[in-house]
Symmetry: C2
Subunit: 373 residues, 2 copies
């Protein structure tokens, strides 16, 4: 099988993504030892997502830390476009945002663009998506965001604030730019053509609200970078700091493809999946192990290709020593697929059980997080 | 001098407009005696703007009156995109809306799209336009709109309501459509490409708010029709009634060209012009009279070309018998330019003085009119 060139844009990720190539193409810097040290100076030991280079690239982090050293604190902006229930991979930007909030006592803005997938895909319109969007919000704040330091908003509920700023952005972006950056054509609807202006707003909104420039850091998956490639210069033209950003790779799909997709239920573990479903899904996960136990014991496997290993790496084994043991077991052939998968399913189910309990508790304090006009 | 073909689009009106041609091109029906009678049945004697065919064309008025007869009352939607002070010509849609409100006890929605001219022209951004926009609102409600039956809103202040509905509209409009209808190109900014969705919303917003279909009537100048040509079918697709509309011609510019333009101060009488300025401007108005008083007395003039006559016809002489006397005087040559203009300047100044007094009184009750999220 020959890999097709990967597609990574705002509304489609397909094929095997070459992350380093992506970084070179779009001028991202790889996260390196020097940056690690600068972050550790303030944050203490790095989050494993950074250490393991799952967050692997960045823009303007040097500048952001320079400002921080001068006493110019940053805020964090990330978001989630609702269209389906959330799966584990969707949590990656929020896990990082939460860690940064804790370590830098940073305010976090969380945009829930409840119009985006309606405009760009086949999701229901905002009113019909409301309950789903609020379920997504619960999954997010269940991660432990601090009330008072975290502001969550649905675009349509916060549109009095957002639209006026989006209008300012939109004046500086032409249809040509959207064609080139997003691949839009003459048959694209004018809502999705405009939408990128809404996604740009939270990257400078705190500066508008405070009446002075506040640096912004965006943790995001690489497919969302296109919005900010388009918006960065505009934000600068409007007189605000261009945002800094750090980029996560995609949690692989259970079948071993690039990205866990929420529109492909087999490839994704949903936060609502019951224990049996998780066991079944992980049972079918791609490991790349040899055809028989005997061969596997003899030749071993490849942890980079084994989705079960990657799940531990991305999410379910924060402890580096324990992770190493798992990856070594896969590599050496001592860890066979059945046991490997059973353990992961247990870890996922333990996480999901705790997560759902936190989500129920989050429900009670929801109002402390929501910004509405 | 050969007339160039007229340009009539949402953001430019140039040349001598052929109104009948416009109606034929876009499928408007001319207002006729039969429709007059149907309106008079409910409204009593027609407003002179209708009688004189300054409001000359319509869409769906037959349907609107059918619904009215069934007890299905309509509301009225019109608006004003702020960019400059208002001039007399800008009042035409509001004079008609006010008359319709009185005669049909209809609710009136007045949209003030404070982002439109920023996106489509060189007007300041919404925050910087706020005070000008509110001055425009005062000029509008000074015409006598009923509080409680009139809802005025700035797009950016009412965006929580508007944006969600505009998103629904925008999904059904492609860039191709905007290219064809508005002449937009690849270099057009994505804000003005989206904007037409915002202008469509008030044509069905009352139906959304009431949870049932309410007919809508839009009095507008012909250059604004393009927005609704694009939106009509979309509004239908969303399950709402397509709006009915009646179309006014443009008050001629003082120099005799097609449309009084607010960006050309010499061609327009502003609502803020002081008496001396009005006298000077009307003194320079185009009448088309003969080169000398003697020749004028001998040959007479053409009331259709005389801007002074047209000002009386459009605005300053509601009484048909008195208007006839003025037009006859112009035609026969008994009414010379000096006297003709001096009288008009007096009439305008009397109107403006009263208008400004009403505007001051409107200031106190402004809050009764404004809708904000």
């Amino acid at each position: 099988m020959v890999d097709k060139p990967a597609v990574v844009d705002a509304y489609k990720v397909e094929g095997k993504v070459d992350y380093d190539q992506f970084a070179r193409t779009y001028g991202l810097k790889l996260i390196d030892g020097e940056l690690e040290k600068r972050i550790e100076k303030y944050a203490g030991p790095l989050h494993f997502l950074l250490k393991r280079r799952i967050y692997y690239a960045q823009r303007e982090m040097g500048w952001l830390l320079d400002e921080y050293e001068k006493g110019n604190k940053f805020y964090i902006y990330t978001g989630r476009a609702p269209s389906h229930e959330m799966h584990v991979g969707h949590l990656l930007p929020f896990v990082m945002a939460k860690w940064l909030q804790d370590k830098f006592r940073a305010e976090v803005y969380i945009q829930i663009p409840d119009e985006e997938k309606f405009l760009a895909k086949d999701a229901p319109e905002p009113d019909a998506m409301k309950s789903l969007a609020m379920d997504n919000v619960l999954d997010i704040i269940a991660l432990g965001f601090k009330p008072g330091l975290t502001k969550v908003f649905l675009d349509t509920e916060y549109a009095k604030t957002m639209y006026k700023q989006a209008v300012r952005v939109s004046k500086h972006i032409t249809f040509s730019t959207m064609q080139a950056a997003f691949g839009f054509g003459n048959d694209s609807n004018i809502g999705k053509i405009f939408y990128t202006s809404m996604q740009a707003v939270p990257a400078f909104l705190k500066s508008v609200q405070e009446g002075k420039n506040v640096p912004c850091l965006i943790p995001l998956a690489i497919d969302q970078d296109v919005h900010f490639r388009v918006a960065r210069d505009v934000i600068g033209k409007l007189g605000y700091y261009k945002p800094a950003s750090i980029y996560t790779k995609f949690l692989p799909s259970l079948d071993g493809l690039a990205k866990m997709s929420s529109s492909d239920p087999i490839g994704a573990v949903y936060l609502n999946d019951d224990p049996e479903t998780v066991k079944k899904k992980i049972g079918k996960a791609f490991t790349g192990q040899q055809a028989t136990a005997e061969l596997q014991r003899k030749h071993g496997g490849d942890p980079d290709k084994c989705v079960v290993c990657q799940y531990y790496r991305y999410f379910f084994e924060p402890n580096d020593a324990k992770l190493k043991k798992i990856l070594d077991g896969e590599r050496s052939g001592t860890l066979l697929a059945g046991e490997h998968k059973a353990h992961l399913a247990e870890a996922i189910n333990a996480f999901l059980k705790a997560h759902r309990a936190k989500r129920e508790r989050a429900r009670e304090k929801l109002d402390k997080f929501m910004m509405r006009d």
